[in-house]
């Protein structure tokens, strides 16, 4: 069947093509975006694949700031942290960490490239200092959490940051000041919501707020400075596996072990309200990420595929298939230049796939 032609009516909405025509003119590289409407164009191949992590890839984090080559941090199931140079596409550093326990979360700091933070299943959060030849743990914090919940970092001002981490009490969140590990507060729901599953902290007008997902499928919005819940929403019947929030649009989304993705909004009184939902073909999401420009959403599926949705209406855009096992993590790069922005996905099949999609705005 010839698929090129005027769009027919019906649910199959036209997609913008993912490629374009590139023209070189002098020193300028001009890319004409192919605006021709092509239906059900096949999804692209990954730009490249990073191999050699040696174990399942649990978490990914980009650091593509101004100076130096763009980097991608990955944490493996065997405690190895790889720092990939995306220019050479090779691992620049491989750090053994967390006593061989799975690394579940990695984050860098805006102001310094040499430091980053990692969270492992050995119940520890470690601060790293990287130099040319060696990298060392400068500081660490015993969280006591045995669960899978990832920490959340909020840089309030250069040099100062708040870290929200799970504790040995399953349902509790503790927020600490990073520099001195001074506890700021602990947030514990009054009612029985079960284990803490995932969370994200950000700076609202009124002060830092934190959204947490619990085992019974509810989301709670916490006011960190006043240590009180702002609102609660029972978003899923199953445990909340992951969530992400677009702070600008005051809109968030969460996923669970079922086929549904649930999006919700925050109104002016900081109340969580159901907003929209989208069905997927296969159940289970490990991670969700909204791109910084608020255009698209990517999910890491248990069915080995990465799904891309339009963030505005949760319109399914593409299913990226490359992995041969569950996808554990997705991440969008923080390149300054939008066309360079990348999507990376880490999977249990030990590969990290890097994609360049919808990078032309």
């Amino acid at each position: 069947m010839d698929n090129v032609g005027p769009p027919s009516s019906g649910p199959g909405r036209p997609q913008r093509s993912l490629t374009g025509i590139v023209v070189y003119c002098g020193s300028y590289r001009i890319q004409f975006i192919d605006v021709a409407i092509v239906m059900s164009r096949p999804p692209p191949d990954p730009l490249y694949i990073l191999r050699g992590s040696g174990a399942s890839v649990n978490t990914l984090h980009f650091s593509c700031g101004e100076d130096g080559p763009p980097l991608l941090y990955s944490g493996s199931g065997k405690g190895a942290i790889h720092v990939w140079n995306l220019t050479t596409r090779r691992a620049e550093h491989v750090l053994e960490s967390h006593a061989g326990n799975s690394v579940i979360w990695l984050h860098t700091f805006k102001n310094s490239r040499s430091r980053f933070i990692s969270q492992g299943r050995d119940m520890r959060v470690c601060m790293w200092e990287m130099s040319e030849d060696r990298s060392t743990v400068t500081d660490s914090l015993l969280t006591g959490s045995v669960g899978f919940c990832q920490c959340s970092l909020l840089e309030t001002q250069p040099g100062a940051a708040l870290l929200a981490h799970p504790t040995e009490h399953m349902e509790e969140v503790s927020v600490v000041e990073m520099r001195s590990w001074t506890p700021v507060c602990t947030l514990k729901p009054d009612s029985k919501l079960g284990m803490l599953m995932c969370m994200k902290m950000w700076q609202a007008d009124s002060g830092p707020v934190l959204c947490a997902g619990y085992e019974d499928g509810s989301l709670v919005l916490w006011d960190v400075s006043h240590r009180r819940p702002l609102s609660c929403l029972k978003a899923h019947p199953e445990p909340v596996m992951c969530l992400d929030i677009d702070v600008c649009k005051q809109k968030g989304i969460s996923g669970c072990s079922e086929k549904i993705l649930q999006s919700w909004t925050l109104d002016n009184q900081q109340n969580l309200q159901m907003y929209d939902s989208v069905q997927m073909t296969n159940p289970g999401v490990s991670q969700l990420r909204v791109r910084a420009d608020g255009k698209i959403l990517a999910t890491a599926g248990w069915d080995n595929s990465i799904r891309v949705f339009g963030w505005k209406k949760l319109k399914p855009l593409a299913v990226l298939q490359h992995h041969t096992d569950m996808v554990n993590s997705v991440a969008f790069s923080d390149h300054q230049d939008p066309p360079q922005r990348l999507l990376a996905a880490g999977s249990k099949d030990q590969r990290i796939s890097v994609w360049s999609i919808y990078s032309q705005s």
Binding site: N3, V4, S27, P42, P46, I49, R51
Partner: protein, 1068 residues
């Protein structure tokens, strides 16, 4: 003679006086000679004092009216020359008088405008004297000669000398008159001391000579373009005179101010002779001169004598540096002449020329317009020249082209920004560099060695010779390459790359040439292979980043689907596999495929053209790497895979080009060998491989690349490659039908690599326990007991005993089953891979394609070798493969059976116990029966039989049977069957090789069961009669003992002797 010259003027005067007086009275030759003899004894200083006195009688002789004898005049001339050479003329009057008297001597008495018809010797003497006169004149008086008042006299002299130079037959006279002219113009370059004319004097000279310039040009033009036989010296001198005069008259510094009228006041008629060098005069003159110049250049630029060509270079340089502004018309031709000599075969000319060019270019005179105009017309005519003229001429024109670029230097950039120029140059290059694609040999040359062969000596691959439509000489191609490099070096890189990429995309006709040009432009831009002075460094400091981005865009274009995946072999030649486009899974692929010309049957020319295009692009990638150096490492991630892909191309040219590109990559990126290149960048390669494996219809060569990688890497690759192997297996499962052959190749190389990376440590563990056979002395009683027991076993109890053994064999498998669910042990990666591969083999063993079956058998053998260290894994897999393997052994093509039998032998070696029963039940009967069946045929066959498959099968079976029996430790009944089947092959009627193979079977069997062998052999033929040691014992009668000598005797005897040999050894 001049040892004691007279220093005292008085004595000298007294000494010379008599001969002077005598000469005045009697002007005879003898007297003149006497005087000149005396002159030699007087010192120069005295001579100077007495100059007038001495010259007087000589001049007197000349003034005597009436005809004189030539000898006398010549003697006078020689004497005067001597005087003048050794003294100076200090007074203007005597200079003027002498000058006019000498001129009179030259001209004919009847017609003063024409030279006299005197002898050569006389003319020479006069000319020499005149020359001496001018040389000896004092600087403050000599320039009076050029004042307007003297113009008539000077004019007469000049025209006389010119006439001599033009019409005289004798070379010496011509040369002397030209030399005289040079001195007369104060431009003499002989060894004597000369007056250096100052600015005013030069002005005077220039103004005077302007009057004669038309005459000088006409006459000398004649001389220069005259017969070559006149000798190079005359031509060279004439050129010198001409361009010195030209330079004086038209000198820029003189023409800046217009000649004033100041002197012309009281000259009367002479004033008409004076030329006023006004701008209009200047213009008219320079036009006329340009014509003369053209004529001169045309007849001297190709002059056979190098001195003439050297002089042309001097001429061009002199005029360019003296009067380039005043004679605009001439600059073009002059530059052309200069540039054309830049590659002269005579080194002196070449050196002088490049020095001159450099000076011209360095002076920064603004010739850009003229040069670019010249360049334009040259380039416009280039295609025509290339089509019509001979190689010599083509080379010359290209050298001129190159020369222009060289002088333009950084200004090339400015020239190229003119769209017209760029268009002309690029189109001309496209037309000139058209390749000849008609040669059949291009496509005929096929790769013989496998793609996996990356030997280190690939460095020795010679660069490929290209065949061009319009020229054959390699020098021409190298000139063209230099031109492109020069363009790249000086031109704007982006502009050039853009332009040629445009041409590359524009038409198939231009594609190859455009790629050639692009390759050279980039290399040139990096400053490689560009000839230049170190003094003029980096006027075009090409940015490494610019270079890199240009290279990236070019490579992107080169390796894009439609430019890289071109068919190089016609489908008729190629097996259907390559281009039998399978179901295209999605639109994108279908669209891409439509771009490929593969859908039509390409003609021979198209194929050739494709081959060249790929070669050129490969060369380009190599060149780019060299241009970029170590920075190219980053680009390896996009370019290495395509290159490696082509290294295995069927076309020899392409694969060679790819190999040399790889060598360039190694050199540029600092890898010691292609092998290291592949190994160090295996991650980049794997990336492409795994992506492309998923799209076999567009990228059919991913398996090939993977195979190359396996061949060259070591075990460290395994963790990286493990998931790609899974990809391969998945791809194999998915596109089972179309791609099997390629995947088999990959799996084969993978397994070969695994065997190499993990050599089996258990290789020699299974040496059968031989000591049991060699018991020195057998206790007879024990033997009989054993025998009885054996017999009983054979009759009934044996069956029972086999059962527990069978259980033993099965037990490991069941153990594994029990272990399995309890805890899944993680297998070493290579074992896991081998297992996965072997599983595929068990399916593919029954493929309908014979070649695949053969390949799979090979793979199977390797799998078994890898798995042998883990029997727990091996046996279940063998079990799974067995039915298919059995089928190959018993029911397949005669080609497959020997291969399968080989696998069986390997299996027998590694898991003999496991297979014993299966073999004896399922395989042996078939093998033995087929051996028996074939025996009669082979015994009766002729020598041709050894070429048949049946024979090969027999041979393979016989060769393998012996070791197999040993390894499987076969039982009596089976041995009987084997012996039964083999005995006929001991016949001397069988082909000799079969006999030998059969002998080897028996030798192996001897190890297993000596007695049985001995007995069976003796049944056939028994050489010894066995006398019973005691009459009570029955005589031993063996069936063979009373047989006459027969066909088996020889071989049986041979074997029996071998029985004896070890026994004898034991006995001793």
């Amino acid at each position: 003679m001049a040892e004691h010259q007279i220093e005292d003027p008085k004595i000298a005067f007294a000494y010379l006086r008599p001969s002077c007086v005598l000469l005045t009275k009697e002007p005879t030759t003898a007297n003149v000679e006497a005087l000149s003899g005396h002159l030699r004894s007087v010192s120069d200083g005295v001579l100077q004092q007495l100059q007038d006195y001495i010259l007087f009688p000589l001049r007197f002789v000349l003034k005597i009216p009436g005809s004189k004898r030539e000898g006398l005049i010549q003697a006078v001339m020689e004497a005067m020359t001597y005087v003048l050479e050794n003294t100076c003329v200090q007074s203007w009057d005597s200079l003027r008088d002498l000058f006019s008297e000498l001129c009179l001597c030259l001209c004919s008495p009847k017609d003063p405008g024409k030279p006299a018809t005197t002898s050569e010797e006389l003319k020479l003497a006069v000319l020499r004297c005149l020359d001496a006169l001018i040389h000896s004149a004092y600087g403050d008086i000599v320039f009076k000669l050029y004042e307007p008042i003297m113009l008539p006299g000077l004019g007469a002299a000049v025209s006389l000398l010119l006439a001599l130079a033009e019409h005289e037959k004798a070379r010496g006279v011509q040369a002397a008159s030209l030399k005289c002219l040079l001195s007369l113009f104060q431009q003499c370059n002989c060894e004597e001391e000369h007056i250096e004319p100052g600015q005013n004097e030069r002005y005077l000279l220039g103004r005077a000579l302007a009057t004669f310039l038309p005459g000088i040009s006409r006459a000398l033009g004649h001389v220069i373009s005259g017969d070559v036989r006149q000798g190079h010296a005359v031509t060279v001198k004439a050129m010198q005179v001409w361009y010195k005069a030209f330079g004086l008259v038209m000198a820029d510094e003189q023409l800046q101010k217009t000649d004033s009228d100041e002197a012309a006041g009281d000259l009367g008629r002479v004033a008409d002779l004076v030329v006023k060098r006004t701008p209009s005069w200047q213009k008219a003159t320079s036009q006329r001169l340009a014509m003369v110049l053209q004529k001169i250049i045309s007849c001297t630029s190709g002059h056979p004598h190098w001195r003439v060509r050297l002089e042309l270079v001097n001429l061009s340089y002199f005029l360019l540096s003296q009067c380039s502004q005043s004679v605009g018309e001439c600059v073009g031709p002059l530059l052309e002449a200069l540039v054309g000599a830049v590659n002269d075969e005579e080194p002196e000319v070449k050196d002088r020329c490049s020095a001159a060019l450099d000076e011209v270019a360095q002076k920064g005179q603004d010739f850009t317009d003229i040069l670019s105009e010249n360049l334009h017309s040259l380039v416009s005519s280039l295609p025509r020249v290339m089509r019509t003229s001979d190689d010599q001429r083509k080379l010359f024109v290209l050298n001129v082209f190159l020369g222009y670029l060289k002088i333009l230097g950084p200004k090339v950039d400015a020239v190229l920004t003119s769209a017209v120029h760029l268009e002309r140059i690029s189109k001309a290059l496209m037309q000139v560099m058209e390749l000849d694609v008609t040669d059949v040999k291009i496509i005929e040359e096929r790769t013989l060695k496998s793609s996996t062969d990356l030997r280190p000596d690939v460095h020795q691959i010679p660069s490929q010779r290209k065949y061009f439509l319009y020229f054959t000489d390699d020098k021409i191609f190298s000139a063209l390459r230099k031109i492109c490099r020069m363009l790249g070096y000086y031109g704007n890189l982006y502009l050039l790359v853009d332009r040629f990429m445009e041409l590359y995309k524009e038409s198939l006709v231009y594609r190859k040439q455009a790629a050639l040009v692009l390759n050279e432009v980039i290399v040139g831009a990096a400053g490689i292979g560009v000839e230049m002075d170190s003094s003029r460094i980096d006027c075009s400091g090409k940015n490494q980043e610019d270079l890199k981005s240009s290279i990236m865009s070019i490579i992107e274009e080169y390796i894009s689907l439609s430019n890289w995946h071109l068919p190089t072999v016609s489908e008729a030649l190629e097996g259907k596999l390559e281009y039998m486009t399978p179901l295209v899974p999605n639109n994108l692929e279908r669209n891409c495929l439509q771009l490929l010309p593969a859908s039509k049957t390409p003609t021979l020319h198209q194929l050739n053209s494709n081959i060249w295009q790929i070669c050129i692009q490969l060369e380009g990638i190599g060149g780019f790497a060299l241009a970029l150096g170590i920075d190219f490492r980053l680009l390896l991630m996009m370019s290495l895979y395509p290159v490696l892909e082509k290294a295995g191309d069927e076309s020899l040219l392409v694969s060679q080009a790819a190999f040399s590109a790889m060598c360039d990559l190694c050199k540029a990126c600092d890898y010691s060998s292609p092998k290291e290149l592949v190994m160090k960048n295996s991650d980049y390669l794997l990336n492409d491989v795994s992506l492309n494996l998923a799209r076999p219809s567009i990228h059919p060569h991913a398996p090939r690349v993977l195979a190359v990688m396996f061949t060259h890497s070591d075990a460290s690759l395994l963790p990286l490659v493990a998931d790609v192997v899974q990809d391969v297996l998945t791809a194999l499962d998915l596109s089972y039908e179309q791609r099997t052959p390629q995947f088999c190749t990959v799996l084969h190389s993978l397994m070969k690599a695994l065997v190499r990376w993990f050599p089996a440590s258990t290789g020699c563990q299974k040496t059968p326990s031989k000591e049991t056979q060699n018991k020195e002395c057998v206790n007879l009683r024990q033997f009989l007991l054993d025998y009885k027991k054996q017999k009983e076993l054979a009759e009934g109890i044996g069956v029972e005993e086999e059962d527990p053994k069978d259980l033993d064999v099965a037990s490991p498998a069941s153990d594994e089953d029990m272990d399995g669910p309890a805890e899944k042990r993680e297998l070493p990666l290579h074992i896991q891979i081998a297992k996965d591969v072997m599983e595929r083999c068990s399916h593919l063993l029954s493929d309908s394609n014979l070649r695949i079956r053969l390949k799979v058998l090979d793979i199977l053998e390797l799998c078994v070798c890898v798995l042998c260290e883990m029997e727990d894994e091996l046996l279940p897999m063998v079990h799974r493969c067995w039915p298919a393997l059995l089928h190959r052994l018993t029911n397949d093509d005669p080609l497959a059976v020997p291969r399968a039998f080989k696998v069986l032998c390997v299996l027998g070696e590694l898991c003999g116990d496991f297979l014993r029963k299966r073999v004896s039940k399922e395989v042996l009967p078939r093998l033995t029966s087929s051996l028996k069946k074939q025996e009669e045929i082979s015994a009766r066959s002729g020598p041709v039989y050894t070429h048949t498959l049946a024979y090969k099968l027999q041979l393979a079976v016989l060769q393998g049977l012996g070791p197999l029996c040993v390894k499987l430790d076969l039982m009596e009944a089976d041995l009987d069957r084997v012996i039964d089947a083999c005995l006929p092959y001991l016949s001397c009627r069988q082909p000799i090789k079969l006999q030998e193979a059969c002998l080897s079977v028996f030798r192996s069997l001897m190890d297993l069961d000596t007695d049985l062998c001995w007995f069976s052999l003796n049944e056939l033929c028994c050489p010894v009669t066995y006398e019973p040691p005691h009459p009570h014992l029955l005589p031993v009668t063996l069936t063979g003992s009373d047989k006459p000598r027969n066909q088996f005797t020889d071989n049986v005897l041979k074997l029996l002797q071998e029985f004896d040999a070890p026994q004898e050894q034991d006995a001793t």
